[in-house]
Symmetry: C2
Subunit: 239 residues, 2 copies
Amino acid sequence: MPLVKQMNVIGRPKLRTIVADRLKTFIVKHNLQSGDRLPTETELAKKFGVSRLSLREATKSFEFLGILESKPGRGLTVGSVNMERVTEYLGFHPALHGISLSELIDTRVLIETGVLAHVSQRMKQNDVLYDKLSTINESLRQARSLARWIELDSAFHRELICASGLSPLMAFTDVLAVFFKRFRESIQKAEWSQGIQSHQQIIEFLKAGRVVDAKKELRFHIESHSQRVKTPTQYRDRK
Amino acid sequence: MPLVKQMNVIGRPKLRTIVADRLKTFIVKHNLQSGDRLPTETELAKKFGVSRLSLREATKSFEFLGILESKPGRGLTVGSVNMERVTEYLGFHPALHGISLSELIDTRVLIETGVLAHVSQRMKQNDVLYDKLSTINESLRQARSLARWIELDSAFHRELICASGLSPLMAFTDVLAVFFKRFRESIQKAEWSQGIQSHQQIIEFLKAGRVVDAKKELRFHIESHSQRVKTPTQYRDRK
DNA sequence: TAATAAAGATTGTCTGATAATCTAATGAAC
DNA sequence: GTTCATTAGATTATCAGACAATCTTTATTA
């Protein structure tokens, strides 16, 4: 007969969870900044009373997010969060695939048109913003392959958000970009020029401070994408 | 004399990085959905040609994000992304503390006002939306503690986004909420009633289809937060 | 002094083992 | 036959120890 089962009953928290929490506390308590070094794995493991393996499960999760960095011979250092990494792996998750195209487009229209007032404002004080956007659009004209076109079109819209100076939105739009990539791929070559014209019109409007016109043009530009996509791409092709 | 140093020179990618990528591919290729089961750790390790340990470093990172779940005796299953978890651990990171309050407020104003047109539209077809918001606001009147007030205020604004039906924005505002929590805590009791009145006004405007007025009121409501906060909260209290 | 080589420290990865936990099969009682 | 408790099997959780790979620092040499 088996001994009395160790009563841990419902969810005993995993060790790595505890360690992750203590690591977080450690960083905050010591007020560590990017680049600062942490104790070695062995020391931390001893400090937390767990094996080096359990400690690593926590640090590796942090490293995945970019919170920590580790190199052989150097040790652990505080990193700088890598949003791209996060979004790349969150973006592919099935749960997020259920979002309809119209929802995605509405969201994008909301953010990009909302940003224009800020962009226009900042353009007045800084010519570089206009030049950057203009340069990308110029390259767009010379794009030969579809892949290159998609890359530059994404860059244009990304730069638009960036020009607003609202950094939180940058990270978010990177997530959205993952989904739009697949829609962009259904674009026809004949439609390139139309898109480029729209881009140009938008930045001219912005430079002139005509925000309302820019919004209208941008909304039309984004929404015209959707009309070309006949059927939403299916991802579930088998039972 | 040491042997010729194994020339790997620049960054040979870590095994866990490769494994993470192959795991991602595996999930996408097999079209796995939330709740679906994966092969066992041993099988996956064999499949990828690495040790079980290296495999675990990848799966644990995924588990941390909520992409995977693991239980002893059951195995690995596809999870549903836990944004709270992600934001909790990203939110404490020093690099993200650099975002200024004005940037946060501008971003919030942009999203919340942008959403109002959608909300108003949907309110016409569904009374429940108005009732939900109204109920939260009603509870807000009866809140006694600051903690309760913060909780309900957050809930109101969250419900507002939710009412737009744009689910991508939900996840994003949850991230922003982490940062706003600390600013809400500086609010004065005397200001409660003013906030509640604003809430009420906003939903009345929305119900009446007066989107422009609702936007104006909401913008004022959010921006008035910032004026109360005298100095941006400092996190670096020591060298 | 500067370049090179060696030594030390630290993470990367592997193997193997035991404990904890869940799932499913088994059997007993009604 | 049905329902419940028990058992057995499968799978992850955690540990320990070892060696390789890599970076940093020190020591050596020209």
